[in-house]
Amino acid sequence: MIEIKMPRLSDTMEEGAISTWRKQPGDTVAIGDVLVEIETDKAVMEYEAYQAGTLAEILVAEGSNADIGAPIALLDDGASGPAASVPAGSATTALVERTQPALVRNGGPSTVTPAPAGPASAQPSGGANGSSRQIASPLVRKLVRENHLDLSHVTGSGPGGRIIRADIADLLVGGTPAPAATTAAAPAAAAPAVTVPAEPAAPSDAAAVPAAPEADDVRGTRSVPVSQVRRVIARRLSASARDIPHFYVTAVADAQALMDLRATLNAQLTEAGRAKISVNDLLIRACALALREHPDVNVSYGGDESSVTLIHDRINIGVAVAAESGLIVPVIRDADAKTVTQLGAEAKKLVALASERKLTPAQTSGGTFTISNLGMFGVEHFTAIINPPESAILAVGATTREPTVVGDGLEPRYRLRYTLSVDHRVIDGALAAKFLQTLTSLVEHPWMIIA
């Protein structure tokens, strides 16, 4: 019997949630078959079998979490005996044996209602790919209805992966019953036997429904679940803003030539039946070239205890994507070695994968520099938070036509503003300024970008 364990699928992963079991107990498993889809903090990943055999038992049900290295299933490779029994059933069995005397001839019912089925048998016996209904207790379903909660990122800790109230406690604002309501029934209950309990409906309702503090009414508040993605964003960016001494350098480039070049290129690309390129694609390459020129920006602070600074020879540029699930930064590796059309194609593919939450760990790790572009929203200028362990991030605004001084006159020309956020522990102001100078020069002489 081989234990299938929760794999480490990304650097920041601490635990994974079983999204879908693609094999069910009894299914034959060949090497390379997809066993299970696992949701990490960044993506939903397929996990393949490294050994052949028969899936004996699923130990972690769909929707449940497991720490890295924790067994999630048993694979029977024929090397040992049958699968161990489902743990959830054994206690009841023991109980039955103890309370049911031997003279029962037909193995009659137990004295205790059967325990809820174990995780494995709780799964529907349908097709291998059938994703099962999310199991939640009636109480949870009621609270979800009343509070407009989303259970899609909640993992159930109850039997068979059932979502129980404890699993959504964090989602419920002021979720614990108001003390007054809880104790309201007590005095009557403790009274002498002849006392008739008070009318039950009102206090119990108040106790069961999560207290709705006045503030909720005032603010019209509702609760939504915190996704794994959102948690990671919160943790990483808080750490960045807290630990990294950011400083900001802003520049404005004359982007007329860049826009002209893009228009020319796109006309010709369209004619050739090829995909068009964007300003951002050009900026990715421009940044890559500027980083090549200033390798001291392509670095990571080694930490307060470290005696070294890490200088990266490869230039891997992250592109911040506003996916529905939250910010994610797919990384284009060796951006300095790729053409603008290659970069455009790769960026397009990564953005699509990000919105489907299908990015692999390789596609979201290893970045050395990040570009965050809010120009498409008409933002003139903003500052970004560094994406550790990188040391710089470029925040790009919109390319807009502005009155520009040319010679002694004014001329409408495209202008582009961007701000570089820099980790002052490893990069000084002059270096940041020089980097921007190079970048601006590239933007203003865009043939150099594609040369």
């Binding site: 309370t99 005397p101 009621k142 404890a166 002849v194």
Partner: protein, 341 residues
């Protein structure tokens, strides 16, 4: 308040009701000269005489029928079935006559009859003398069935049963006769059809009646001590009418329930309680309702096997732990944290 046994409370209440109302009289096997198999009627023959404390032949159907007739004509008979097992000999009288007469004949006559009878096992009385068949009567419209678990309730419910105008099966329990508790000195009848929250709590609702209400209270107290659990105990007290409101109200608060019964699991009282919870508190349940009942066997005579067949405190504790585990409560040890209040 006076501390007395369940047996004493029953005795004293019968006596005081006989003193209060001349229409109250007793019938049953061995209740007079022998003073009752379980001595509930001790001394009453001497005090009230043969007319009001009547020993009967071993003929349950006969004296049940006689009592029904007496009740129809205005007396208030309290008959003793030596154990509930023997009441089956009078099923036709009880179910087809006592329970039906008021409704069948347009309310011309009511049947203010009390049938006292102990149920329960644990005394090595064998399969035919250890049953819990109160369900038979709780099943039948026209009957009332009460099942006190404490001396105080034995008094309050006996007062209510004797003063009620419908036939009441008054379930006693062999294992409860010697239990003691505080009993109010005043004669205040209970309301038949009202359950009682005997211990308020918020972690789980433990529901029982008769002996199992007693067990429920003990287990809840023990788990509060050992694990810091806050278990609410509901003593049904009345099986018909069943106080669904109190049950549902409690489960709406605690979100989980374990139902205890001394009878068999399948089709038992617990099934009715569980169904009531499903009807009234479905949206409040965080885990399935679990039941603890007797093994589905004729009661063995062997002490070891009889003990094993009856639901034990360990069985109840295990069911509670499993249910609490299913709703994410830590059940042990205390140091690791009790669910927050």
């Amino acid at each position: 308040m006076t501390i007395m046994s369940y047996r004493q409370a029953l005795h004293d209440t019968l006596r005081s009701e006989m003193l209060r109302d001349d229409n109250v009289f007793l019938m049953g096997e061995e209740i007079g000269v022998f003073e009752g198999s379980y001595k509930i009627t001790a001394g009453l023959l001497k005090e009230f005489g043969e007319k009001r404390v009547r020993d009967t032949p071993i003929a349950e159907e006969g004296f049940a029928g006689a009592a029904i007739g007496a009740a129809m004509l205005g007396l208030r008979p309290v008959i003793e079935m030596m154990t509930i097992n023997f009441s089956m000999l009078a099923l036709d009288q009880i179910i087809n006559h006592a329970a039906k007469i008021y409704g069948m004949f347009g309310g011309q006559a009511s049947v203010p009859l009390v049938i006292r009878t102990p149920g329960g096992g644990g005394q090595q009385l064998g399969a035919t003398h250890s049953q819990n068949i109160e369900l038979f009567y709780a099943f039948v419209p026209g009957m009332k069935v009460v099942a006190p678990s404490t001396p105080a309730d034995a008094k309050a419910l006996m007062l209510a049963a004797i003063r009620d105008d419908d036939p009441v099966l008054f379930l006693e329990n062999l294992a409860l006769y010697n239990t003691k508790g505080e009993v109010p000195d005043d004669d205040v009848p209970a309301e038949i059809g009202r359950a009682l929250v005997t211990r308020p709590g918020k972690d789980l609702t433990l529901i029982g009646y008769s002996r199992m209400a007693h067990v429920a209270a003990e287990v809840a107290a023990s788990l509060a001590e050992s694990d810091g659990l806050d278990i609410e105990v509901v003593d049904l007290r009345s099986l018909r009418p069943l106080d669904r409101e109190t049950i549902v109200s409690s489960v709406r608060k605690t979100h989980a329930a374990v139902v205890l019964e001394d009878d068999w699991l399948t089709y038992g009282i617990g099934a009715e309680v569980a169904a009531s919870i499903s009807d009234g508190a479905f949206d409040y349940l965080d885990a399935p309702v679990r039941r603890v009942a007797m093994a589905e066997v004729p009661m063995p005579y062997s002490k070891t096997l009889e003990t094993a067949a009856l639901p034990s405190r360990d069985d109840v504790t295990a069911a509670i732990r499993q249910t609490l585990a299913a709703v994410g409560h830590r059940t042990a040890p205390l140091a690791l944290g009790v669910p927050q209040s």
